[in-house]
Each structure stands twice: as structure tokens, then as C-alpha cells.
Symmetry: C2
Subunit: 141 residues, 2 copies
């Protein structure tokens, strides 16, 4: 695990961010989970064994990490901004029963052809959101 910590430190430094315990913790937490937590969920998780990061710091850290491209937002529900440390291109699936979000690997869906779009519209990035079905936990038997 020490190697993992070193790698996080090197990553943060490489992006020009100072390595503080709070920022480290936010990024480490996001890297370790795949449930696309909200800022509040991250704050609670970090502080569950004694206070380590204030609310304002978590927001600030998330913003800093997002600005340098280490994490990104996932917006699938009204009024809920979730975060994801998986910055490789990928798609999302949301369970229609419990709302859980899981990743869909990029190569599980074929590449799209944008030739039919109106001229002059050059695509830099796209993403597919899939609704329906049930996640592992909600699967009916």
C-alpha cells in the first residue's frame, strides 16, 4: 500500500498540486471506490474516524483535482453531483431500481460514427448513458 500512496503523491505533484493530507485523502478515497460518491459522501467517509477534512476543503480539493484532470463529475440525477476517479473514457449505466451507477468499459460499446452530424461540428468527446436493467444488488432473483 505504500507504493500506492507514493504513486498518488507523485501524481498530485506531477499535476502541480501540493500534497496535503486532505487532498491526498480525497483522491485516495475516490480512487479506492467505484460508486461515484457525492461530495457529502466523501466528507462523511473521510471523517468517520475522527475529523480530518472540513466540508469546504473537500469541495476545494475536488475542484482542484477536477481542474487538473485527475477526476471528473458524473451527472445523472437532478441536484446530485457525483465524482469519479476513472478518467479513462467510459460510459455509465444507472440501475433503474436503486439508482446505482456503474461503469461500462469504453470498448463494450462500438465506436460511433458522427459523419451524419451537421458540418462544422467537430466532436472532441462523447459519452453514453444507459438507463434500465438492474444492478447486481437489485437483480430480481
Amino acid at each position: 500500500m505504500q507504493q500506492q500512496a507514493d504513486k498518488i503523491i507523485q501524481t498530485l505533484k506531477a499535476k502541480g498540486l501540493r500534497v496535503t493530507p486532505q487532498r491526498f485523502a480525497v483522491y485516495e478515497d475516490l480512487l479506492a471506490r467505484s460508486d461515484h460518491p457525492t461530495a457529502e459522501q466523501i466528507t462523511n467517509h473521510l471523517n468517520q474516524d475522527g475529523p480530518t477534512s472540513s466540508q469546504a476543503t473537500v469541495y476545494s480539493s475536488l475542484q482542484a483535482l477536477r481542474e487538473v484532470g485527475l477526476i471528473r463529475e458524473v451527472l445523472l440525477e437532478e441536484g446530485v453531483c457525483r465524482y469519479d476517479a476513472n478518467i479513462d473514457p467510459h460510459h455509465h449505466f444507472q440501475c433503474q431500481s436503486c439508482g446505482a451507477i456503474e461503469d461500462i468499459a469504453w470498448d463494450q460499446l462500438q465506436d460511433l460514427d458522427f459523419k451524419a452530424l451537421r458540418p462544422g461540428l467537430q466532436v472532441t468527446h462523447y459519452e453514453i448513458t444507459v438507463h434500465g436493467g438492474y444492478c447486481n444488488r437489485c437483480r430480481p432473483e
Copy 2:
């Protein structure tokens, strides 16, 4: 335009909603524009020539219209919930310069094949969000 108004009234009634001036106005406004406005933008637009709908009513109307499936949310920016009266399946394009959102007709992108997804995951709906390029207003030169 009278026919358009009658049609809106019939549509609302058919969904079991009472036709009030405020609810009519919210739906009419959304039908008439394609810029995916926020609740605040709708409120301001409706009240620009004298007060017609309170803030709470606009939110309430939007919620009622969404519950019966006449409008839907569009979530592309953090903390911003936009609304769209186009409920036919379609995709969205967001201009990377000004953030404007425009629709992409469903048949301009090929249908996706979900065979590669894990078993048991039946897809009920999906949607593609395209970032990049420039909208008509931001087109360079």
C-alpha cells in the same frame, strides 16, 4: 395559434393535469423554445411582462409535467438542471465554447448494440452526449 393552444390544453387534460394559466404557460414556453432553459430562466421569461407565475409554481409545474412525461430534465452541467419539451428520444450536443445545448436527432447516430454488456442487463433507454465543436453562434470566423 389558437389550435396550438387547444392542443396544449388537450394534452394536459389527457395526462390528468388541470389546466391552469401557470401550468399552461410553463409548458407552452418550453414547447416554443429549444434552448433547454433552467427553471429560473423560465420564470423570468414568463414574468417579464408583469407577474404571472411564482417561483414555487414554476417548480411545481415542471415537476408535474415531468411526472406525466411531457417534459424531461437535461443534466449536462454541475448544479444546473435544464428542461426540454422534446420527449422523443434524441441525443445532445454541447458547445465547448458557450455551453449551449442543441439536440441531435435520434437517427443521426447509429443504433447501439448492447450485446457485449454483462448478462442480465436489459437496456430500456440510452442517450449520447457529445461535447466539442462549436454551435452556430460560436463558430470561428
